[in-house]
Symmetry: C2
Subunit: 308 residues, 2 copies
């Protein structure tokens, strides 16, 4: 089993969907990634920052899942990063209502000493310079570096983003972001262009339409589980990434064939995440529920054609 | 091997895409369905109507593929149905430029005597009353009736459409049409509501995002093959339906497990259809190319997770 370092936000979210709204609840990319990865009973550490307003119970929750929180800086008299958003009726788009960076504005990540030899590094969505700083602190070359990012950094820090993209193995972005990053409409062409930028593996997330994994001329497609309703999509992409990285760390196998499984695990965990507000479903999630849904994924996609 | 009856348009199309435009070329739902089904070397018959302006070589082309054309009425001094459309840059939407019904306006389908005991009936997109008339002419109850339709009939002949939907086994429609037919956004809920209308099997086509097959609580998902570019989407849905119905007729197995294979065959054939204008690619398509692409579909979707 490999060690996993996760960098990303630990935050408060306030969410509105057609089904209801929340007050400030636990959120943040690293939180969702950590909760997903913890399904694999890994040695994982989160590198992040919160303010002194951040409830101790949330930190305890992460610790209780074998997540090392010594890399989560607590800024005295600081306020925790806060995001608020409202989803549209189709759940495929949202408006950001509030973004308060707070302690995130001056965040200097510090990777715990014990984790500077981690084999798997998951760079959650954050400023690319923060992601780069985490990579620079690694004392041994990780077996696999996975990066998640979003259009905000393409709009506001593209040069920095390219610096970190050069140094990673796997990138996970959504379809529109892949198109924006490359100027190509075809996802096949976009994935090829992104591979030329650095990462040998490209995962394109298409929300309810599933995810594509590209490597050289190979493609793998994992559908999203067709759901009666999506209650709250917040964190689904992070959960996918956490499931992906966690599965690789657990299996210590970075082959393309095994990455297919990692994509399936990521999709499986994401399918739970959207069932309730925020982290609620991921916190209550049990291993047997995951296994049952993996079987559903098999039924959903596996077929037996006899080629005559 | 079962006999297959196909009803649908045999037509002229004129197509504009970002890659170019065509004059009047061979088109029509029944043409695409027939060409796809002919990959299985079936006994198939097309029931349709054309004008005396319809080239003999097109009819010969269908005959040469073992398609019985005795049910294609040729109206003397009549003009063949003509459709012209222009695709937008994203290829996911199009404007209809011209629709000339011509001989289609007074079409009375006549199923050839030899095919009134066909085991599989494919009702291609047409006025629901024409589809119903074909069903009424069957002298033995078919093992499987597949219906393809579109939003136009939901807007203009909904009562008639419901009459035929009641009598079929499988419906193939696209995602927006499934939503329109049921008033439900969730495709899972929409598929359930459609099953309550009659067909026990519901195939929802999502274009570049693949297709879903629903039956009771079972779901199967076939992705579309990720393509560098889609040259011309015309006929892809019909080709999918023809591949589906043709595979069922060939294998004589209407189980859900075998329908999964039928969906994969439909997707495979549709992935060829879009590579060239109109029927061009389907006409040149060879069996070994199909087999090779089926293998690509397997690589695209099959995985081996060991559940621990």
């Amino acid at each position: 089993m490999s060690k996993l370092v996760i960098v990303g936000t630990v935050a408060f979210d306030a969410i509105e969907t057609p089904f209801g709204k929340t007050d400030k609840i636990l959120g943040g990319a690293a939180t969702f990634i950590g909760l997903a990865a913890s399904q694999f009973n890994l040695d994982a550490a989160i590198v992040s920052v919160v303010g002194s307003d951040f409830p101790k119970e949330y930190l305890n929750l992460l610790s209780s899942r074998n997540i090392d929180i010594s890399g989560i800086e607590i800024v005295k008299n600081g306020k925790t990063f806060f995001w608020s958003g409202r989803y549209h009726n189709d759940m495929n788009s949202r408006d950001t209502l509030v973004t308060e960076l707070n302690v995130l504005a001056d965040f200097n990540p510090v990777v715990p000493k014990d984790y500077r030899d981690a084999e798997v590094v998951m760079l959650g969505n954050l400023h690319p310079m923060v992601q780069l700083s985490v990579l620079d602190q690694m004392e041994t070359k990780p077996k696999l570096v996975v990066l998640d990012t979003m259009n905000f950094w393409m709009d506001n820090a593209l040069d920095d983003l390219h610096k970190v993209i050069k140094k990673i193995d796997v990138i996970t972005i959504n379809d529109e972001e892949a198109r924006q990053l490359t100027g190509e409409y075809s996802l096949v062409v976009a994935a090829r262009k992104i591979q030329e930028m650095g990462p040998k593996y490209v995962v394109i997330k298409k929300g309810e339409h599933g995810a594509l994994l590209f490597h050289d001329d190979n493609v793998f497609y994992a559908p999203a589980l067709p759901l009666e309703e999506v209650f709250d999509p917040t964190g689904a992409g992070d959960t996918f990434a956490g499931g992906f990285a966690g599965y690789i760390a657990r299996t210590e196998d970075t082959s393309f064939e095994n990455m297919k499984n990692a994509v399936i695990y990521g999709s499986t965990l994401a399918s739970f995440c959207v069932e309730k507000f925020g982290t609620q479903r991921m916190i209550s999630l049990k291993a047997d529920e995951v296994h049952k849904r993996l079987q559903q994924f098999k039924n959903l996609t596996q077929f037996e054609i006899v080629l005559d």
